[in-house]
């Protein structure tokens, strides 16, 4: 019963989306605009149907309905309910269901907020959303169908992949990632809609979607940081980023989306880069589909890649269709995409944005080439190669430090043309703090030039961005006599997007400092200890108290109790563990981390004698790693500030600081 409801809902939704998509151009071309309400109704109906199907699948998982193939594949009676429910995104088919649901939700929301707009932009955007949705419905009735009948019905299932049921972040990282990834379908749909409607020139699509783009970007940023955190807490190697193809797949569209968030301001302000922005948005969407292809087609091997058959061809065909359609549409709109403004001076905010876009795009291509190269090499030359960290570090570190530098320069530069003395007074504090930060890095022992540059530019960018808040608030204090704090809050409230951006910059600086410090000053050692023996690393002494075993409902746990010592006193107890799941050969490492502002003490149980007479533990001292997670939260806060609707009253009542002068 559940199976039929879930599966039929998708089939009906497929028909509804096709009908709704076909109706839109017919209605626009024939002038029967009342038919458009049918297209919009199709968007809402689709959301309803996919919601029914998704809930039915969740219900089936929760009630262990093993007659449904997906449940039989990932379910198990012993798995705790939380991990049973979130196994909705634990394997290929369920993750496509979830994807389709998020897309349907975005589609319904977009149409709801814009349904009363005149013109042809929204109808064509709705059509594009429906067509993308159709693609995912085709996947769900075809190669990624989760609703096959299993007969005879098994009594129990294997449960989710052990790595995916070992940490609470599995309930956080995937939904954030989907909300981010799928969210880029909205600006894409409006970009395509604007070209179809012939309305690229008035920039409406940009105003309508800039908040949606920021929503998707905020979710994707949070997802990338949560993914790093998951990898750090679960995989047991003490790192958070390995340039793994799947990490890259999430990072590549983030780079183009970040470029877009900056270059779109140039279009709004100066009427330039119209074609470029259109391409960035279409490109970001295509890169999310490409990322899905890489992670869901089994073409690369990793925790995320669920090995499957033919689904890869569907993705490639879809990417090809999107690219061909975009090229045709851009060609058709080429006269309207010319610039109406031009660059005035080499030292201006526009130029900083152009450089930012150049570096981000080159960065994106570098990561993309490095990620795809093994596939190309194997297809073309039949050799198996891997492109590892050395390539990515060597190629991307220069761009990272250059971007950090620009992040400090950009906010200080005015639009159009910079005036020398003013610029000097804005940059000088940043230069001083930056040099001090770099010197501090050298004194602390950093010898890698990129690390020293990272500390320097991080100090510089941090100071300049903070300075923007201070000088803006001071101007209000002087003009309006407000207290400094009130002035600060009102300043941000009146220019949410701008100051949200600066908050996000501060978050990036924190992440950069955390990454630079932890990769430069990380120390580790492995030791085999008998109970009572100690190991010392970076001033921390740890004593093995005991090794132990414990049986839990769905797994067996082996752990080592380690005491953090201060002289003879026990300060804290850290228990790295290894979890054995019945259906898996490999134990899942479960490192334990003791965090402080200065850094993390990271313990992982590597091996043990079966009689408990000794254990081998790896101890890692990772300075400033918590700054990365905190910086991620600051980035999300920045995105939230930018997304939050500006109250009209507040915006109208206060004088806005002029970009040209502050």
């Amino acid at each position: 019963m559940t199976r039929l409801i879930a599966s039929d809902a998708i089939i009906i939704a497929l028909l509804v989306t096709v009908l709704g998509a076909v109706l839109a151009p017919v209605a626009v071309r024939s002038g029967r605009r009342q038919w458009l309400s049918l297209t919009y109704a199709a968007v809402y109906t689709n959301f309803l149907l996919v919601t029914v199907s998704t809930l039915a699948l969740v219900w089936a998982l929760a009630t262990h309905d093993f007659s449904i193939s997906y449940v039989a594949q990932v379910g198990s009676r012993a798995t705790p309910t939380f991990y049973t429910i979130i196994s909705l995104w634990g394997a290929l088919e369920g993750s496509i269901v979830f994807w389709a649901w998020v897309l349907a939700m975005y589609g319904a929301a977009v149409v709801w907020f814009n349904r009363k707009r005149a013109g042809n932009l929204v109808p064509y955007a709705a059509m594009t959303m429906l067509l993308v949705q159709t693609f995912f419905h085709i996947l769900l009735v075809g190669p990624a169908n989760p609703f096959h009948l299993v007969s005879p019905v098994p009594m129990d299932g294997p449960g989710p992949n052990p790595l995916l049921q070992n940490h609470i972040l599995m309930g956080v990282h995937p939904p954030l990632l989907y909300l981010g990834y799928v969210g880029f379908a909205v600006p894409f749909a409006f970009a395509i809609g604007a070209m179809l409607a012939g309305e690229v020139n008035d920039g409406d699509w940009i105003r309508l979607t800039r908040r949606w783009t920021l929503v998707a970007w905020g979710f994707l940023s949070a997802a990338i940081i949560a993914g790093m955190w998951w990898s750090y807490e679960v995989l047991g190697w003490g790192g958070y980023w390995a340039w793994d193809p799947v990490e890259n797949a999430s990072f590549i569209p983030w780079l183009t989306a970040t470029a877009y968030l900056h270059s779109v301001m140039v279009q709004e302000r100066r009427g330039m880069l119209k074609l470029w922005n259109l391409n960035l948005m279409v490109g970001t969407f295509v890169l999310t589909i490409l990322g899905t292809f890489l992670t869901r087609s089994g073409i690369i091997s990793s925790v995320h890649a669920f090995t499957q058959g033919t689904i890869g061809y569907y993705f490639l065909a879809f990417i090809a269709v999107v690219l061909v359609a975009t090229v045709a549409l851009v060609a058709g709109n080429s006269e309207k995409l010319g610039s109406t403004g031009r660059l005035d001076a080499p030292l201006s905010r526009e130029v900083a944005f152009l450089l930012n876009n150049l570096f981000l795009t080159v960065f994106m291509f570098t990561v993309l080439v490095g990620t795809l190269f093994p596939l190309i090499a194997e297809a073309a030359r039949g050799v198996k190669v891997s492109v590892g960290e050395p390539f990515f570090n060597r190629m991307t570190l220069p761009m990272m430090v250059a971007l950090l530098f620009l992040m400090g320069v950009g906010p200080a530069l005015p639009w159009k043309r910079a005036a020398g003395p003013e610029l000097k007074s804005k940059l000088l504090p940043g230069v001083i703090v930056g040099l001090l930060a770099g010197a501090f890095g050298i004194v602390a022992g950093a010898r890698n030039p990129y690390a020293v540059l990272a500390f320097t530019f991080a100090g510089f960018a941090f100071t300049v961005n903070v300075g923007e808040f201070v000088s803006g608030a001071r101007a209000r204090v002087a003009a309006l006599g407000e207290s400094f704090l009130v002035a600060l809050v009102r300043l941000v409230a009146a220019n949410r997007r701008r100051y949200g951006g600066y908050v996000a910059h501060l978050g990036i600086v924190l992440v950069a400092v955390g990454v630079a410090a932890s990769s430069t000053f990380k120390t580790e050692r492995e030791a085999t200890l008998k109970p009572g023996e100690t190991v010392t690393l970076a001033g921390h002494t740890l004593r093995l108290k005991a090794a132990w075993g414990r049986e839990e409902a769905q797994r067996s746990v082996i752990g080592a109790t380690m005491e953090l010592m201060d002289g003879d006193r026990v300060v804290d107890v850290i228990e790295p563990k290894m979890n054995y799941y019945p259906m898996s050969q490999q134990p899942v490492p479960t490192p334990q981390v003791r965090s402080s502002l200065r850094g993390d003490l990271y313990l992982n149980l590597m091996a043990f004698r079966e009689d408990g007479s000794n254990v081998t533990v790896k101890v890692i001292w990772e300075p400033l790693v918590p700054w990365i997670w905190f910086g991620g939260m600051v980035i999300v806060l920045g995105a939230l500030i930018g997304i939050w609707p500006t109250s009209r009253r507040g915006a109208a009542a206060v004088p806005q600081p002029q970009d040209a002068t502050t």
Binding site: G388, A547, Y580, Q585, Q586, D611, K618
Partner: protein
């Protein structure tokens, strides 16, 4: 008009030069940083060219070759593909399930002394779910540990 046309060509030329420079950089980066995945037979066949360059070596752990010293943390074993075998030294504890006959991938360099110095060791396992095979009884290991530690 002419100056506008000229500007366009200058712009196209500049972009072209940047693309070529970028392509050249990427090519150079890939050329010196790509790690080849080889079997013992392929690595042995490379001779001199396979030495002192980063390589990923994949194969099975030769039964009977494993020598793990838990006080010096040195692990010695041989990787075989059935026809050739290569001696591997690595530092650090092996994965808990590391054992004879298991598929492994080691990353490192093949030295002129005929020993592969490994910097990272991965046990090859598929994402598919498999019940523990013969001799792999996690539950029993845990029971013996419970007895041993008196917990």
């Amino acid at each position: 008009m002419t100056s506008k046309k000229n500007r366009k060509w200058v712009a196209i030329g500049a972009v072209g030069i940047m693309v070529i420079a970028f392509g050249w950089l990427i090519y150079g980066g890939l050329d010196s940083n790509v790690v080849y995945f080889l079997t013992p037979k392929e690595l042995a066949a490379k001779g001199e060219k396979g030495m002192d360059v980063p390589v990923r070596l994949g194969g099975q752990v030769k039964p009977g070759s494993v020598d793990w010293n838990d006080s010096t943390l040195v692990l010695r074993f041989a990787v075989t593909d059935g026809s050739s075998e290569i001696a591997v030294h690595s530092k650090g504890a092996p994965p808990q399930m590391f054992k004879d006959g298991m598929g492994v991938v080691v990353e490192g360099r093949y030295g002129r002394d005929g020993v592969f110095q490994s910097t990272s060791l991965m046990v090859k396992h598929s994402n598919e779910y498999k019940a523990p095979g013969k001799g792999e009884k996690p539950a029993e290991m845990y029971k013996s540990l419970m007895k041993g530690s008196g917990a």
